[in-house]
Amino acid sequence: MKIFNKFLLVSLLTCSFLSCEDYIAGDLINSDPNNPTSVPVTAQLPAFQIALADNVGGDFSRFNSMLVQQVEGVARQWSAFNQYTGLTPNRFDDAWQNVYENTLNEILIAKTSSTTNGYNHYIGVLNIIEAYTLMMSTDVWDDIPYTDALQGINALNPIFDTQASIYSTIYALLDEGITLLEGPSGSVTPGGEDVFYGGDVAAWIKAAHAIKARGLLKDKDYAGAMSEAGLAFTDASDNMSFQYPDANAAGQWYRFNRDRTGDLEFHPTMRTLMTGLNDMDRLAVMDQTFVTDHTYLIPNFLQELITYREMQFIIAEADQRAGGTQAGYDAYLAGIRASFTRLGLGEAAYEAYIAQDAINPGVGNLTLETVMTQKYIAMFLQPEVYSDWRRTGIPALSPVSGTAIPVRWNYPATEILFNSNAPTEGEVNIYTDRVGWNQ
């Protein structure tokens, strides 16, 4: 091999002579000229905010509202999902990818640069979005990776944290977020690029309380939930939401109905329920054929992530569980009114609706059943309805097929395949394995 060594020597000498380092490395030739290796947090924020909103209005909304029979899968794959048999692990790959790769990992990167730069208000906002994302995920998947997650090649098989520890993390993130937002901002603050709140610090603090209320409710801390809800949104303008701008970036439901016409329709169960309540005005808005002509599920849809009306129903529910007071009753009616407003129905329609005794029975006569039924209607297509139904069993639903309605989602196929710490397919029974707060 001596000859090769000499050869190597000669070629290396020639190489330095010709300055081959310049040829191979010059002009940063192996650096992608079209894509940056780092971006400011302001250029990152809208990407994962919209990814999150689109995930909420996408698989989370569709699967969850289908499971609680607000919508019905009637064609192609969706008819198999409707029968529950089609809800195989690979169906949840996209939602999981949107959570981990497109939201949580982006938040982590944004948080790292914000921490380095001392953008405290940004960190606060990131905490709140992270908490929101974690909660919607653990609510359908129970235990999920967190402490070990998002480390790329340094942890190829992230372990799964228990839902209880995820919830603790969520509360801690929210508390820290509120503290940071109430303190000094740092040199760069969220502004116009913040597609949820346009950099409105007060609104973000309210949103943190709203998310906390949503969590405490599931943790059965009703008093806590009521007080957090009280610190949250004062009206619908505080809602955490994303306004899809136009037909070129149309709302999730619109795109689904346009490109998968006929797969999903309004569910007869919900139709029967609303008809029984003489809820015809809201029904007329919701119960239309799911095509592009739908008047509610439009291109420039307002995708809500958490709302004032949900807070009102949290107050109403907590109050009702504590015996029921006028304040709780008022919240109940405020929730219904906000729902009418959201659907584009006027005050007159609302007044006519609550003129019915069954809807407006008076403080002493309100039942948890009525509150939760109204919340079920008011939260049409909001993923959280699935949590409410699992907690309370209201409204009563019969399985579409078999003997049980799934009480959670399967873990996604790719995670099962590539993460050796993920529970295998057989280890999870979506009909019986209830998530932590639901046990």
Partner: protein, 1086 residues
């Protein structure tokens, strides 16, 4: 030959008579400098520039011996005539020089590795308009797969199977010493399974310009090319001018006619609908599960009780819009005119035509030579409106101003224009809509199929909505596809080289070769408003600019060290740079129909994408030989590849890698008495390594992108900018700064035997190789925050056998028969993937996709399978189909009661790699006539018939017409609950084919079919014109390609690839049908 000339100088004066004649090759071209020797004497001469000789022959001489390098020697008896013209045949002569790596000409006998040559005539005679297609069956170890019958569609070449796990596996193309790109440039909008056909860019070379092609197969043969040659090298030498007195002119013209070979069987009994009920076009029903067409008749009254109720069914005047005959109602309820059935498939296709004219001028003298050629190809496809036009101009010239100095160069220019049609897995794909159309619906709307192409009312209503069988939803009407969703491609390309060679003396010579290849590829894709893939209409503009420069500086020489030992060497430097730039503009939301231009778009997004890398190589090779018996060659190369560099912490040594090769040729026949039986025998041995960097640049860093794929795969994704806002997120691909080169080690042994003075030859090669640290696009669990990463983690082994048998069973003065058999068998086993990764996706679909799977053949088809009673061993568990009986679902509450149960695990359900390939090539010549044919046999190689799979769902295939009529019988298998033989009778009807067991269901194994074939790849008859006073020669030929095909595959011609020239092969999902061709060609030499 020098010796012969000396003999000539000594020349005697004993001449008794003078024999004259012309020595030509089979094509009639004069052979200059062929030697002519009187048998049994030292008297001889050589032919002049016109191939003419004149020799004084002594009294009593019996015969003349003719010889010429690269041709079989001939011995011809002298007769009374003083004129003796001789035709020499290119042959297996021992002293043949072959072109090896870097264009170094070496004696074939000295090579320790396999090289196979394909001559220019074989290329031309094949009738193929692309050099790649012309190579099929002509060399062992080479597998070529045409992707589709679309004109201008690409072909994939593999030499010795695959070399890289996920990187490029197609060989390097070197034209006149410099690398030339053979890429298929793919747009973002096309993806791998949809879009339009793509070309491979070697199509830009006019096959008439090719002098010869040399296939360098193994790593030892390609070692000097380094990384770029890892997958083999095709060395193309183009024709040059010769030192001759006159200017030679060649003109050729050809006309070709193409027709589709075969199509999947469709049923023509059942009408559109479901559950046996007719549901017409306005209902949007997708399937053909309606009643028998023979049970239906027409009605026209919009008040008819069976009239369609959809708002779009009738126009304002109350006339039914979807069929001029009216809508369909049960027999007896309408106007008595029975329902028609429509063949929406066969009449749609036309005879594709292509016309090629080619002209070349060549000439030269001692000082300079030139060859100028031009060609023009115009082709129309079997699919109406598809087009391919190519114009090429090439100038090759050389100048030898001083003894030992040659300056040469060539310039090629080509311009190719394509009009392309959407294909594959896309709702605007031609066959997707065509084959799904129920037999009760007329895509032409009453026009003759030939006329419907130009009849807007066949596919579009007055309100600009689409007329198709699903009420404007579903899939595009084929006539819409070929009018309203066309792709246009305009490729301008120039490539060539400038070369300076200076030979100081035998021992030292210098060479500089500067090569360039510049391609501009401008594309436009239209989607009219109401196209199914883009309901709002879209125009996509893509502009590719590809530049590569390949420069060499060599020192080379050779000579005798001692009487017994000779040496030759080459050493040099190679600098290569590659720059591909794509700029794309996507215009969506067209404002009004009928104007397909970017200015009509209401939203624009644009993108630029630059791929660039450079490499620098230092190489050397030395060959020592002993008495023409032993030849030992050592070579080494040190490469630096920018793709391994980390821009933030660049270290040159990270990018460099070294690899050696060694080979030995032992010509054992030199040590034996020269018997008539064994005229030549050689044993070859070689060992070589070759390294390779990552397939893509920028793999060492993670980047941010403006996301364009926000969504979850149900509705179309949305992308930034959104509402005027742009944002970035971290790419799902994690960069890896620790990448090292992957290394392939190959060992090759070969035997070259020639018998009976070269009339019979056998060349056998066995090789095995191993790739370590293969760079894989490894999947990650998404909870890591990333979807994948480039990782040095794979290992793959390969082995193969190649046999080439050459024979001239018959040879007389006027008649000869040459035959060649090429046998190829190769196997690539995936030994190891990234940690924790069971399989790696290459291409395809959920139900059936090609993957790399540990322990399996490269690119196995992995997908849904029936559940088997025997769970299989641990290894089988996730990989292969267990051997047990099929398990039948016997849960009476299940909607799939009595059907096969579905295995929850996906399994390896097919292997797209052929078991072996044989090409049998024959040339039979009689006087001026010749007949050639090539039989191409590909044994095995599975294809997943996704077309049949999908059509079963729609009740459109003949299979579904047969099965829905069958009497209820139990499916063979055992019952799930108790393992007893199944006794549940079922009919495989609509419910069956739309369940998990049919189209779009989870099971893919039932549609894996044997994609092997035997075909008559080429058949041709040729006649050479005799020379006249005004014409030196010429020929007329008639040939056919793919005239006969025998296959078990139930669909289109199984030579097809949905993914084009990519690595994931073995899919047919509404692929464009392949073609057979008939070609007439005339050629004249002046």
């Amino acid at each position: 030959m020098v010796f012969t000339i000396l003999l000539l100088c000594i020349g005697t004066i004993m001449a008794q008579r003078t024999i004259t004649g012309t020595v030509t090759d089979e094509s009639g071209e004069a052979l200059i400098g062929a030697s002519v020797l009187v048998k049994g004497s030292s008297i001889g001469t050589v032919t002049d520039f016109n191939g003419v000789y004149s020799l004084d022959v002594p009294e009593g001489s019996s015969a003349l011996l003719f010889s010429y390098t690269g041709y079989s020697g001939r011995e011809i008896e002298l007769t009374a005539s003083n004129v003796l013209d001789v035709v020499m045949r290119e042959g297996v002569v021992l002293e043949t020089a072959v072109v090896t790596a870097l264009g170094v000409r070496r004696a074939e006998k000295s090579l320790g590795y396999a090289v196979q040559k394909v001559g220019g005539e074989d290329i031309i005679r094949s009738g193929a308009s692309s050099a790649v297609d012309a190579l099929v069956g002509k060399a062992s170890g080479v597998q070529i797969t045409r992707s589709s019958g679309s004109v201008g569609g690409g072909s994939r070449i593999l030499i010795r199977g695959v070399t890289s796990m996920v990187g490029n596996n197609q060989p390097l193309i070197v034209i006149d010493g410099v690398r030339t790109n053979n890429e298929s440039l793919v747009r973002d909008i096309d993806g791998t399974t949809a879009g339009t056909a793509t070309s491979n860019r070697l199509m830009d070379l006019n096959p008439d310009d090719i002098e010869s092609m040399n296939i360098l197969k193994g790593a030892a043969a390609t070692a000097l090319y380094g990384t770029a040659g890892a997958a083999g090298v095709v060395l193309i030498t183009t024709k040059k001018g010769k030192n001759q007195k006159q200017i030679a002119v060649n003109f050729s013209t050809s006309a070709g006619f193409d027709d589709i070979t075969q199509m999947i069987d469709l049923q023509s009994i059942y009408a559109q609908g479901s559950g046996g009920n007719y549901r017409g076009p306005s209902t949007g029903a997708s399937g053909s599960w309606g009643p028998k067409v023979s049970d239906l008749e027409y009605a026209t009254d919009s008040n008819h009780p069976n009239a369609p109720t959809s708002a779009n069914a009738f126009d304002a005047a109350g006339i039914y819009r979807y069929d001029k005959n009216g809508f369909l109602v049960p027999s007896g309820a309408g106007n008595g005119n029975p329902a028609n059935t429509y063949n929406n498939v066969d009449p749609f296709y036309q005879t594709g035509m292509n016309f090629t004219n080619s002209l070349s001028l060549s000439g030269g003298n001692e000082l300079a030579t030139f060859r100028l050629s031009a060609s023009d190809l115009r082709a129309t496809g079997v699919i109406p409106n598809e087009e391919y036009k190519r114009k090429t101009v090439k100038l090759a010239s050389s100048l030898s101003p001083l003894e030992g100095l040659t300056i040469s160069g060539s310039v090629n220019f080509s311009k190719s224009d394509y009009v392309r049609v959407q294909q594959g897995s896309n709702t605007s794909g031609l066959l997707l809509g065509q084959l799904r159309t129920p037999v009760s619906f007329d895509n032409t709307n009453g026009f003759n199929p030939e006329d419907a192409v130009d009849q807007v009312s066949a596919y579009q209503f007055d309100d600009f909505s689409q007329r198709n069988y699903r009420g404007g939803g579903g899939y595009d009407n084929p006539y819409w596809v070929i009018n309203k969703a066309l792709g246009y491609e305009d490729v301008s390309r120039t490539f060539g080289n400038v070369k300076i060679d200076y030979q100081l003396n035998n021992w030292i010579g210098f060479g500089i070769n500067i090569g360039y290849d510049i391609t501009s590829d401008v594309r436009k894709q239209d989607f009219e408003i109401n196209s199914r893939t883009n309901a709002n209409g879209a125009v996509y503009l893509d502009e590719f600019s590809l530049k590569q420069y390949d420069n060499y500086f060599n020192v080379l020489g050779s000579g005798q060290l001692t009487e017994d030992i000779s040496l030759n060497y080459v050493a040099g430097i190679n600098a290569f740079s590659y720059n591909e730039q794509r700029t794309s503009i996507e215009g969506t939301g067209l404002v009004f129909p009928g104007f397909l231009d970017i200015s009509n778009a209401s939203a624009l997004t644009s993108e630029q994408d630059i791929n660039r890398y450079r490499s620098l190589g230092f190489f050397g090779q030395a060959e020592a030989s002993w008495r023409g018996t032993f030849y030992a060659t050592l070579s080494a190369r040190q490469d630096y590849d920018s793709r391994l560099g980390n821009p933030t912490n660049f270290r040159l040594e990270d990018t460099g890698f070294f690899y050696p090769s060694a080979s030995l040729a032992f010509v054992f026949s030199e040590l034996m008495d020269n018997t008539d039986l064994l005229s030549f025998g050689k044993l070859r041995l070689s060992y070589a390594q070759v390294g390779a960097g990552p397939p893509d640049p920028y793999s060492t860093q993670s980047v941010f992108l403006a996301p364009s794929d926000i969504g979850d795969g149900w509705g179309d994704d949305i992308g930034f900018p959104i509402g005027g806002l742009t944002a970035f997120d971290q790419d799902e691909l994690l960069g890896n700064a620790d990448l090292t080169p992957e290394l392939t080690t190959t060992f090759e042994v070969g035997l070259d035997l020639r018998f009976l003075n070269g009339r019979l030859g056998l060349d056998a090669t066995y090789y095995n190789g191993n790739t370590k640290d293969a760079i894989l696009n490894a999947s990650l669990a998404l909870s890591t925050g990333y979807e994948n990463i480039w990782l040095n983690s794979g290992e793959m082994s390969s082995q193969g056998i190649e046999l080439t048998l050459n024979a001239t069973p018959l040879q007389t003065k006027d008649f000869s028969w040459n035959t060649q058999v090429n046998f190829t068998k190769s196997e690539n086993i995936v030994e190891k993937l990234a940690p924790g990764i069971e399989r790696l996706f290459l291409a395809g679909f959920n139900t059936a996709g090609t993957y790399l799977v540990e322990g399996n053949q490269y690119g196995s088809i992995f997908g849904g399978a029936y559940l088997r009673a025997d769970a299989g061993t641990d290894k089988d568990q996730s990989l292969n189909i267990p051997s047990g009986a099929v398990v039948i679902n016997d849960d009476p509450n299940s909607s799939e009661y009595g059907y096969q149960a579905v295995d929850p695990k996906q399994r390896a359900i097919g292997d797209p790699n052929p078991d072996f390939i044989i090409g049998w090539n024959n040339t039979i010549a009689y006087k001026r006539f010749s007949l050639n044919f090539l039989l191409d046999w590909r044994e095995g190689g599975d294809l997943w018939n996704g077309t049949a799979w999908a059509l079963s769902f729609f009740g459109r295939s003949q299979l579904t017409a047969d099965t829905r009529e069958e009497t209820a019988t139990p499916i063979e298998g055992v019952k799930q609950s108790d393992g007893t033989p199944n006794d549940i009778p079922v009919v495989r009807d609509e419910n069956y084919w739309t369940s998990s067991l049919g189209g779009f269901g989870a099971v893919g194994e039932q549609f894996v079919q044997d994609g092997g074939w035997i075909r008559l790849r080429e058949l041709g008859v040729n006649y050479r014109f005799p020379a006249t006073s005004w014409m030196k020669g010429g020929s007329i030929g008639v040939s056919g390609r793919n005239l006969w095909l025998k296959t078990d595959y139930d669909g289109i011609d199984p030579e097809t690839s949905l993914t084009g020239t990519g690595n994931g092969q073995g899919f047919d999902y509404f692929n464009m049908p392949s073609t057979k061709s008939f070609i007439v060609k005339l050629s004249f030499d002046f």
